[in-house]
Amino acid sequence: MTLLEIKNLHLQFNSDEGLALVLDGINLKVQKGETLGLVGESGCGKSVTGMSILQLVPTPPGEITQGEIIFDGENLLGKSTKEMREIRGRKIAMIFQDPMVSLNPVYTIGNQIAEAIDLHQPKGISSTWEGVVDSLASVQIADPASRAHNYPHQFSGGMCQRGMIAMMLSCRPSLLIADEPTTALDVTVQAQVLKVMADLQKELGMAVILITHNIGVVAETCDRVAVMYAGNIVETADVETLFENPQHPYTRGLLGSIPRADRDMNELTIIEGSVPNLTKPPQGCRFHPRCKEAMDICRQTKPTDLDLGDGHIVACHLYG
């Protein structure tokens, strides 16, 4: 069952350098309870996609010009500010890259979790404080009752991120948007944070959009993957298909650029060129200047989404 569907989402930024078309017609589906990985290079629009679902992109400079975001059968873009506030934290939650700066330094962790619980009043909790302690326990913080009195600076990075997860999941949302949740953390605690997230996902039956540039994390945790490039989603498939049989030249380049133990080092490919300036995006397919297989049509016409079967969708003229 589809929980979230983004249809033809366009978003632009008014910057000093001009108008940047940051999201250029995004289509994305998230099923109930699944984990969707959203991958791509830095600056491709992954974070903006996540933030635009909750309408957290500041306006100005950001502006959604076209498209629909359908969540639980309702278009979020038609909602009032007040209605959106009731969805944030209650039905859709979000966590961010750097947990050390994502928690307010002057309030205790418990205070910040209690704030979410008091605001949304989730069912099945006898008291706010109990909810706070339970949610800290659920992210495996030892001695949660006294740890709730701690300030963020008394937590380690991994604990802060687990605290964020506890806070955001205390109201049992049906969708969690996790924006690079482990990027800022030590490698040793990354796995622990991902496991806490996965356990809670199973328990709450929640869907997760995992925004990351780390292909390894995707392989371990995601059911399906969407690959983004310069404001477009170029390929979507379930995780096995994508790794076994990538179709879009960009996806192939991206997968090729991670060194793998089972492959010869000579095979390591690096995509040449850099991410285009979105105030002056290339005509046609935005990837064509870096694409080894670019054809004439790629320079003129933007490719449309093509269903290769089993939900494997690719936007590339090679298959048209």
């Binding site: 910057s15 350098e17 830095s42 600056g43 400079p61 924006d179 540039h213």
Partner: protein, 293 residues
């Protein structure tokens, strides 16, 4: 050692960091300030051509005349043309303020660079001294010095300059501290550059921007302080057309000849506004995080 950025900066941070020179060109208040400053400099440069009368020219047949066609800003108790005096006063205001700021800049940059670069007891000594000077409100310390060395415009410049360098020393020290760990400086040390060369050729260029911003923002403060001291009678002495001095002379006639004190004050306000607008713009461009007051 700095390494190339490996972690992607978050979208949020990238959004905030979108600043450039274009921002200055689009910064209307800053351009407005710059235009006024250029105009003021032209007025000061061409004062004899602009002013219809000399700043000392007395005319006892036209004492305390209201503003009118002949005397745009009226005349004072000696029949001097207030407009001409205000025009000539711009020379004093701009020169005194620039002189004060240049002296403060030199003292502050030298002490700040020494403290930041050598560290250790040099730093403790200089920073301690900076803190002490900082502890006095500058006007009070300047008054203290004037009480010792006497009134007069030159003494005012000296008094303000030797009490006002502390902010320059602080930002220079902070900048040097952050820059001396950078690769290019360490490379200079590695190839055996002398301390003097490192300070002048490697570090000095990096501290210019924040000091330029601070200098622009210090000029209005210097103008306010010199004119306040002249207003109190400790600065420029009659018949100087210093704006503060004109204001002081007009004070006793406030009831009957409001124009004598009013127009030099407007001139001060316009000048300080212009420099503050420009300084704000420069700060937005160069130093968005700068908060030294």
């Amino acid at each position: 050692m700095t390494t190339p950025e490996t972690k992607p900066t978050s979208f949020w941070v990238r959004l905030q960091a979108n600043r450039s020179w274009r921002k200055f060109i689009r910064h209307k208040p800053a351009l407005f300030g710059l235009a006024i400053i250029i105009l003021l400099i032209l007025i000061a440069a061409f004062a004899p051509a602009i002013a219809p009368f000399g700043y000392e020219t007395q005319d006892f047949s036209s004492i305390r005349l209201e503003p009118g066609a002949n005397h745009l800003f009226g005349t004072d108790k000696f029949g001097r043309d207030v407009f001409s005096r205000v025009v000539y006063g711009s020379r004093i205001a701009l020169m005194v303020a620039s002189l004060v700021v240049v002296i403060e800049l030199v003292i502050g940059v030298i002490l700040g660079m020494l403290a930041g670069y050598f560290g250790g007891w040099v730093d403790s000594l200089i920073s301690g001294f900076t803190d002490m000077v900082w502890a006095f409100p500058p006007l009070i310390l300047a008054l203290g010095f004037i009480s010792a060395i006497g009134a007069g415009l030159v003494n005012v410049v000296v008094a303000i300059a030797i009490t006002g360098w502390a902010p320059f020393a602080r930002i220079t020290r902070a900048k040097v501290l952050s820059m001396k760990e950078r690769e290019f400086v360490e490379a200079g040390v590695a190839i055996g550059e002398t301390d003097f060369n490192i300070l002048i050729r490697y570090l000095l260029p990096t501290i210019l921007a924040p000091n330029l911003v601070l200098a622009t923002l210090t000029i209005p403060a210097a103008i306010l302080m010199t004119s306040a001291l002249s207003f109190l009678g400790f600065g420029a002495q009659p018949p100087s057309p210093d704006w503060g001095a004109i204001l002081n002379e007009g004070r006793e006639f406030l009831r009957d000849a409001w124009w004598i004190s009013t127009f030099p004050g407007v001139a001060i306000l316009i000048t300080t506004l212009a420099f503050n607008f420009l300084g704000d713009g420069l700060r937005d461009v160069f130093d968005p995080k700068q908060t030294v007051k």
